[in-house]
């Protein structure tokens, strides 16, 4: 249970770590847009995006294997979608006489793998370089305009930071309950899927109950310290845009322009051929 890494922050001192959380969130969104802008068959665009990921990882001083590892959790999903593309794509010419695997199927599979891998590694860089608290603050700040239509933005952000804060606690708690039930002979490792799901009930119910208890206690503790939401609330850490963020915006703007240009360029090239 302990090796579950969720949004794992990688502490380091770097250019990217020092960037404003809001800028990083916006850049990440722009990066995902860039990845999705790359049109089918235009692998040069992916190369540009991959270069951006490598560049960010290097400037963030994050070991490369960490970035690669972030794909691990969804590796199954990536492989599955690639295999489905290869097996069931009916377009294009078969690779051999009467075969069901086509060239377009293979290209599409590669396309999907590249797209998912880039989006996940890019997003993981955001969580590697930004603490959960900074993230929540950043999202709150970015959503501030929604206050105009009376959305409780501050409360949303608070809910998010509390949820993030309690993930490690819940993991510990789960670990403990699993052990306690194992000591009473509970078996989580054998039987078919239904049996295993049923075996989880003795873990989930105590977990749910203790979450409610914790929520109550936390609410009381906040009340006791006169917490009253966003009104007139100041922040200990003020967010400020700096030259780093400007550089980040320039680079990502460059990437998007490049991708769009490569999309067009390739067509010209294809027509030229």
């Amino acid at each position: 249970m302990r090796d579950v890494s969720f949004g794992s922050y990688y502490p380091a001192k770097s250019f990217v770590h020092n960037m404003d959380a809001r800028a990083k969130i916006l850049i990440s969104i722009a990066f995902i847009v860039a990845v999705f802008l790359v049109r089918s068959f235009h692998f040069l665009g992916f190369a540009a995006c991959a270069f951006f990921v490598v560049l960010s990882a290097v400037t963030a001083r994050i070991p490369f294997f960490k970035v690669i590892k972030s794909i691990r959790t969804i590796l199954f999903f990536i492989v599955l979608s690639a295999v489905l593309q290869v097996l069931f794509n009916k377009n294009g010419t078969p690779l051999w006489e009467g075969g069901f695997i086509t060239d377009i199927g293979l290209i599409n599979a590669g396309f999907i793998v590249a797209r998912i891998t880039l989006v996940v590694t890019g997003a993981s860089l955001l969580t590697f370089t930004t603490t959960p608290v900074e993230l929540a603050d950043g999202i709150e700040s970015l959503l501030t305009p929604l206050k105009l239509i009376k959305l409780p933005v501050h409360e949303f952000a608070l809910i998010m930071s509390i949820a993030l804060r309690f993930i490690p606690t819940l993991i510990d708690e789960t670990d403990r309950i699993i052990k306690a039930q194992k000591a009473r002979g509970a078996d989580f490792e054998s039987g078919n899927i239904f049996k295993r799901l049923k075996a989880l009930i003795p873990v989930l119910i105590p977990l749910l109950i203790s979450s409610f208890r914790r929520a109550d206690e936390l609410a009381d503790a906040m009340d006791a310290r006169c917490y009253a939401g966003s009104k007139n609330r100041t922040k200990y850490k003020k967010m400020k845009l700096s030259y780093r963020d400007i550089i980040g915006f320039i680079v990502i703007a460059g990437l998007i322009t490049g991708v769009v240009f490569l999309n067009k360029f390739y067509i010209v090239l294809a027509v030229g051929v």
Binding site: K179, A180, A183, R184, A186, P202
Partner: protein, 290 residues
């Protein structure tokens, strides 16, 4: 069931060997059948990690020593953990947090049905009833009540009934008296004594409470930084004041008084239980030296 631990080491997070501190380091210990064994040490000294090895909740790591319980070899991959766990009951800190079923009867019977899947219904109910009553609760009054509707003290008793229902020969308790008031604690310890006299031949208790250890245990081991610094009777352990203090622990009240008296030149010999202390003081007084 005799428990033998030889040269046991354990590290959390095996992968980065350089980053982790060992939780256990070359620990060897024997616990005999019939022992009321105390395991003491400050937070993070490896006590919990140690006891969780005994019923295989934590598996012995590769080349990190050997744990044998009766004829179960826990380093053997084919070790039958279910059979082992049916004979070793484990009560965790705040056991009431593991309750989950709709009724007390169901919750207490959970372990029983896991260990003996083909047990007959009336036999199961008889054993559940016995366990609940052994824990000092009125079975007929609460058997169909949701465990979550009970009071805190009752919940804990139900949770403990759920552990002892399979009559384990070894009962391991991790800080069992945490969060109980003095009266509740006393009652609880009497319960343990009762278990010890009937089915649980060996009791292993992890605690910070030195008075409890001095009063109830016949043997104890002191943990510090993943190593054992002393093993013996409470008398032997608490007579070595320096080691106890060095391990970040306090002396039991009796031992502290004996120590202070000794510094003032008055020697009292007792084994640090309240009764023996009072008897020793009386003997001393009758000797007319006070």
């Amino acid at each position: 069931m005799r428990i033998t631990v030889e040269h046991l080491s354990y590290r959390y997070g095996e992968k980065d060997k350089n980053l982790t501190v060992p939780a256990l380091c070359d620990v060897s210990l024997e616990i005999n059948e019939g022992d009321f064994f105390g395991i003491i040490g400050k937070t993070g000294s490896g006590k919990s990690t140690f006891v969780q090895h005994i019923n295989g909740l934590i598996k012995v790591q590769k080349d990190s020593g050997k744990v044998t319980v009766a004829d179960f070899d826990l380093t053997d991959k084919k070790c039958d953990y279910k059979a082992l766990r049916s004979r070793i009951g484990m009560v965790f800190q705040y056991p009431e947090y593991q309750l989950f079923a709709e009724t007390v009867k169901e919750d207490v019977g959970f372990g029983l049905k896991n260990f003996r899947p083909d047990i007959k219904e009336d036999e199961a109910e008889r054993l559940v009833k016995e366990a609940v009553e052994l824990c000092g609760l009125n079975y007929d009054a609460i058997k169909d009540v949701s465990p979550f509707d009970l009071s805190g003290g009752q919940k804990r008793r139900v949770a403990i009934a759920g552990v002892i229902v399979s009559k384990p020969e070894v009962l391991v308790l991790d800080e069992p008296a945490a969060g109980l008031d003095p009266k509740g604690k006393e009652e609880f310890l009497q319960l343990l004594v009762k278990f010890h006299k009937t089915f649980a031949k060996t009791i292993i208790i992890v605690s910070h409470d030195m008075d409890l250890i001095a009063e109830y245990c016949n043997r104890a081991a002191v943990f510090k930084g993943g190593r054992i610094t002393a093993v013996g009777t409470p008398k032997e352990i608490f007579s070595d004041y320096e080691n106890v203090i060095d391990c970040g622990l306090q002396l039991p009240v009796t031992a502290a008084v004996v120590k202070t008296l000794k510094e003032k030149g008055v020697n009292i010999d007792c084994d640090f239980t309240v009764n023996s202390f009072v008897a020793a003081v009386k003997r001393f007084k009758d000797g007319g030296n006070l």
